[in-house]
Amino acid sequence: MEKRKYQSIVNKYTPKENRLYNALVAFVVGGLMGVLGEVLMELYSYFLNIPVKEASVFMIVTLIFIGCLFTCLGFFDKFVHFCKCGLIIPITGFAHAMQSAALEYRKEGLVLGIGANIFKLAGSVIVFGVFSAYVFGLLRLILMGA
């Protein structure tokens, strides 16, 4: 059988993902994460009596901690699985990716296990994050001046 003909049989019986539903879930959950972040930031700012800019660092650390803790407790992957990009795109996704890799490779030692593999998933985020920061920084310099 020709590959193209086989592919058409495969396409016929392979179900399609409901992208609209996934996007909607991600939109709602991602929005709620934003609300949670805002609430945390306001609370930190109010109770610790610090500027909002500093409170945002506290908020990020809190969200990272929650993401890591829930990953270790073993149920965050189920949240992520359901919410998809709603939890992957915020900082929780980054924490989850690093924490799950650390858990996975802890048996293989501190250096060759955790050290070498902790960025297995998150490494590309950092590489392209730094790269795009460089490109956009350069663009800003050229277009808007120093």
């Binding site: 590959k3 019986y13 179900p15 998809k84 799950s100 890799a101």
Partner: protein, 328 residues
């Protein structure tokens, strides 16, 4: 290539299942089930090795032999360098052949064993196979605790260890014939769609087996494919109809049977080398023992996937091997 056998029997089998399989429809039929993924071991890899080790021990008890009375152990799994099998074999101390054909390993082992037993190279053989969901996820996909989304048509690697004891003693189930498949590559690149990757190889092997033995699909009371999943199964049926003009009768797929797909979160069903034997050595053997079915064709399907080649955007080759079993 099809071989006929006159004097090869699967005398007994043993099965150990993991936690998800133990909640599936055949939970009561396994010799042993675990409720966690570690089985008292420190890592997933050693846990997988323990599955082979223990399934061989259970089998030796059943056939009333010691490991020193076994001529050959043929074993395979999904880990790099067949790690689980190697470590189990080093503890068991039985002369050992490691085999790999991904999820088709179980039947590959049975075919090699049957040929050796039939031609009196050995008197008895134990064929083992194991897979471990978390060990496979770690090696082929993402860390276990990472919840990255997967499409609904992907399959869930089964956790289990299965062993079969073959000899010329007339007891158990007779091995009637076997067909060694060829590697088929239909250009599928989606690592999550293993059913689509393997369906063509499965169809080709079933066709070759039926034409070499001059049998109709209705000759078998059950044709059981390995791990195509609920969507791959439909692809196979349509492929057989359009390519070979064969309407499969009494056909089912182990991946669709091993879990309760509607109730358990296992996507499109099971996969992994242990998937087919977990169903075949429990449910199917039980039915054969009670005379409800007499002739069975097991078709193990394997996606010969390598993460490096997939990242290099190459398509995934696949293979299927068939073995025909009959009630004595």
């Amino acid at each position: 290539m099809t071989n006929k056998y006159d004097n090869v029997y699967i005398n007994d089998v043993s099965t150990i299942s993991g936690p998800y399989e133990a909640k599936g429809p055949f939970s009561k039929l396994y010799d042993k089930s675990y409720n966690d993924f570690y089985f008292g071991e420190k890592s997933f890899e050693t846990a997988e090795s323990k599955l082979i080790d223990e399934s061989v021990d259970i089998l030796l008890d059943k056939v009333d032999k010691t490991r020193f009375q076994i001529d050959l152990l043929i074993s395979g799994d999904l880990m790099n360098q067949l790690t689980s099998s190697n470590y189990a074999a080093s503890r068991l101390g039985i002369p050992f052949l490691g085999v790999y054909n991904a999820c088709a390993t179980s039947v590959e082992g049975l075919i090699i064993a049957s040929n050796m037993v039939e031609h009196k190279c050995v008197d008895n053989v134990i064929c083992s196979v194991a897979s471990h969901n978390n060990a496979a996820e770690k090696q082929f996909r993402y860390p276990v605790e990472y919840g990255g989304p997967k499409p609904c048509y992907t399959t869930f690697t089964t956790t289990g260890g299965c062993s079969a004891y073959l000899s010329r003693e007339k007891k158990g189930v007779r091995v009637d014939s076997s067909t060694i498949g060829t590697v088929v590559d239909m250009g599928i690149k989606d690592v999550y769609n293993m059913g689509a990757v393997m369906a063509a190889a499965c169809g080709d092997t079933i066709y070759k087996h039926l034409s070499n033995t001059k049998r109709e699909p209705g000759y078998y009371d059950l044709i059981l494919s390995g791990d195509l999943g609920i969507y791959g199964k439909k692809i196979l049926v349509e492929y057989m109809r359009t390519e070979y003009n064969i309407n499969l009768k009494n056909y089912d797929d182990a991946a669709s049977m091993i879990f309760d797909v509607d109730r358990q979160s296992v996507y499109a069903g099971g996969s992994g080398p242990a998937c087919l034997p977990l169903v075949a050595y429990s449910y199917v053997m039980e039915k054969m023992k009670h005379g409800e079915i007499n002739r069975v064709l097991l078709v193990a399907t394997g996606a010969l996937m390598n993460t490096t080649m997939v990242n290099q955007k190459l398509s995934i080759p696949s293979i299927a091997h068939a073995i025909s079993l009959e009630v004595i």
